[in-house]
Symmetry: D2
Subunit: 300 residues, 4 copies
């Protein structure tokens, strides 16, 4: 037992005032890093962190995440962007975007009856662990309404029964359009249509309750018990039209044994699910994840 009379116990992710993140990806060639850092230098911006990855330095795919800062950044951003446009779009086959880190991304969380992933995100957000703005929670069950609202977050109940989800998805689109920068499926357990994924137009992160690609589809813990595996896990991935096949952001596992029933696997797995999902949401919120084909580059 420990006495820490005066030690503060702050866990908050400090608001990154006067900092922005620049993501660049495209074809690798000599001089990209130099060009970017020269632009930042000209505008008096200091590089806070720089991560770079190339899958082949001779014309492969190039990825760079740069966090930079200076006093009065917001006012300076347009000029920095204009300068980067000149430097990067001429010579290089590159895509890039800049985001002001003082403005948190807005997210909608979709949930169902199982509340562990939902509550973990709400609770981490309240502790200041997640630099996000939770715009709303949408659930096909009303069971968590009071709990969600006690966090000061709007809750919308959109039932989704039967095979035809089009009415529910229309409601979803109405709620989401213009209001969110990404969506998190916190054990939502409903398949989203390809049309919805396209129309919503923002990244969707799902937590799958297995170590993908093992146990794709429904009820993975029952399948895991049946196969007699010695580890169960969870996978956070971006949602694509192909069920459970989207780019993986994060995975983890926990050791189990013959004595664990399916109920116990679910309980153990629930801890992994919420840990994995919270990491994926944090990394996405901080623009640490770059999609590339069916892969992700994660700059931790």
């Amino acid at each position: 037992m420990t006495l820490t009379q005066n030690a503060p116990d702050q866990h908050s992710v400090q608001p990154a005032a006067d900092q922005a993140v620049l993501i660049v990806h495209g074809r690798d060639r000599t001089g990209i890093v130099a060009a970017i850092s020269a632009v930042l230098g000209r505008h008096g911006a200091n590089i806070v962190s720089l991560d770079q990855y190339s899958d082949n330095p001779h014309g492969g795919a190039f990825f760079q995440r740069t966090v930079f800062g200076r006093a009065g950044l917001r006012a300076a951003l347009p000029a920095i962007e204009a300068d980067l446009r000149t430097e990067l779009s001429g010579d290089f086959e590159l895509e890039w975007q800049i985001r002001d880190l003082s403005v948190p991304k807005r997210v909608a969380i979709f949930a169902s009856k199982a509340d562990h992933c939902l509550l973990d995100l709400l609770w981490r957000h309240r502790r200041g662990e997640l630099p996000i703005n939770i715009s709303m929670v949408i659930s096909n069950h009303a069971t968590t309404a009071d709990e969600v609202r006690s966090f000061g977050i709007p809750f919308f109940h959109v039932p989704s029964q039967g095979k035809d989800k089009s009415a529910a998805e229309a409601q979803h689109l109405q709620l989401l359009t213009g209001n969110v920068d990404f969506v998190v499926l916190a054990r939502y357990m409903q398949i989203l249509s390809g049309e919805f994924i396209e129309r919503v137009g923002v990244p969707i992160i799902n937590i799958h309750h297995s170590f993908l690609p093992a146990f794709i589809g429904a009820d993975p813990y029952a399948k895991a018990a049946q196969r007699g595996v010695k580890l169960v896990g969870a996978t956070a991935h971006y949602v694509t039209e192909d069920l459970d096949e989207g780019p993986i952001i994060e995975q983890d596992v926990v050791r189990v044994n013959h004595a664990h029933s399916v109920v116990e696997l679910r309980r153990q797995g629930a801890d992994v699910e919420r840990a994995v999902l919270s990491r994926a949401v944090l990394w996405h919120a901080e623009d640490r994840v770059i999609r590339h084909g069916n892969h992700t580059i994660v700059f931790q």
Copy 2:
């Protein structure tokens, strides 16, 4: 993303009706297992699980945890106990106790400003993951009162400032005496006096925010950052008069690196703390932990 139309999502630890746990420890010798299982057999009790450990089969210390069951167990327990008394107390230098598993242990949780361990226990309890009865939460700060009470659990604010804790401890004893079977210090951050530990008369579990015996005492994350370790951890242990020296129940760690500030170590560590504490509470609640000198035997 997964469709699990009909899969129930239950995590509850089922109430173990008609089951009891028998803990036996003492000097090892031939025939203990046979004697115990013979008694249980005579009373028609089936052995559900049996764990046994001896640190030296030739007269070392012997430990056995046996879960057994039969229909109408509660009515049969007195006769089983009487029979065990006859069998075990004559020939063997053994201590033993039986507990009816349908009656959950009563616990008081002590907390302070940091709420992550407290909330994790309350939340797991509500999900049915912990077979305990949370009698009350006691805190030296009122900050978590509303949250705790929203779980339907009594909250008592007992300030504890200055060096003299005797008034606070007197209040604690008044609240606890007769009402709890064990106490959990969920980042309580106050030293308990030896007198209090003795008078409260029930086991006290503490979570220390380091991998003991590294970083004993105050502010271990700052010490960890200063030492440049590559893992930080947490340790659940029984409280004794010697600060951070009691028998360890459970430990775990998480990987960190040079880029983690003290704030970030605290955040990462907080996840380990609550995971480790919840496992220690679960195992204690299920009588899986046997104290032996300054060690624990944990039958998982």
Copy 3:
């Protein structure tokens, strides 16, 4: 840096003189533990360790591993076995076997060009970590012959090219029959015919270089890189006619990221493979693994 002037550095698994292991499995019912421990007690045998598991105490499957000892055990074993036969075969639907732990199991290791799993087993065996007797190494390549023989172990080169493995398998059977208690495929990379598996008549342990059931079949690290997983693993399992579908003994994983090439995944995975295989071999050698349908009960 540490000075340990007088500290011995022994890692050897001590030869378990005068100890035997009893494995019992069958239909659960009241009184099995009592019957077994009574028999052992009558013969003056002390229970060194006892592990028990039942998947359902009301007539489910029951598994028990009991290590017991007494002076002059070998001479006493026939009488103990006779007594157990009387006690267990009458009333109970149980199978059981006893093994004298002073006699290590004999094993043949099959290998191919990749030598990491093979060398790890040879090296652990020399250090005294594995209570086995390595009768021979069989390989379809001659490359490791000198290395194997330098450990004092016979090496047999049995080429196995083309689709028809029957000639090779006939040679294998000639070498193995009567000489080994189990076979280990240490990255042997050749499919064994169902006929061979049946005729060899002893358990065969394989190490698969993925976290099964993910990436069944050939070249799992390439598949893992293609899928963009964040963990790669290995699986030790008993070989059955169904490729990569046999009962899993042990699994583990290691964290990887986007920057790891397939070559690097193989290198990282190689460490997991040898760790997982060595644990599976140790547990099998100590009769800690009980097969039950397509599962294993592992008493660690």
Copy 4:
């Protein structure tokens, strides 16, 4: 079991021809990254990977590791170095060095009776996992001489008994001076004098058989067993005059329990020791580790 008929099984770290690594550290200020990348760009060098860390962007400590390449690198290096000298030494308080990655670092391994860390390094080196040149093995016992020499590596037996190590250390210096770029203590178990550390003039990596700072000094596994910890670990660190207090490079742990004897803890720990040491050696060999006070920056 897997058939991989044609899959190569190569694990070798490819020799990085035409690549060099540049390490820069010093006081952070605007423009360092730009200046370095501009110089590399002017010389037609492509940045293969770039890692950067600053403990405070406003004048804190700055660290950068850059791997770059171009055809005919060796011939171009002097000009690149001259250019960097001009750019970096004028304006910035920076230290930097460049190393041609096609020339592996030369290492001497010190060992004693325990051979697990030594053999693991020799074996990984032979597999091509470690881009090092093992110049010699020095041991205070002759027991591993044959084994070491079978790897084609010189073995020197330098006894080191009694309190006065000066004769042994004089021999060590004679063997090492001019011949090695770093030294690895692979469970050498002898304290090196401050004078030796200073005179040898190259980094020394030690593996300590505990999770430092827990269990500093001799016989940590016995201490771990006594304290009843639930994890044991190992720590690779640079050797300084203060015993077990040098900058930590890497650490890891493994789960243990009450049933593990000291012998078993040593066996489990040995696996962690060799894994941790091999990672530390790899990272040091690739210039991924930068010492900063009593810390390390490790760019993985």
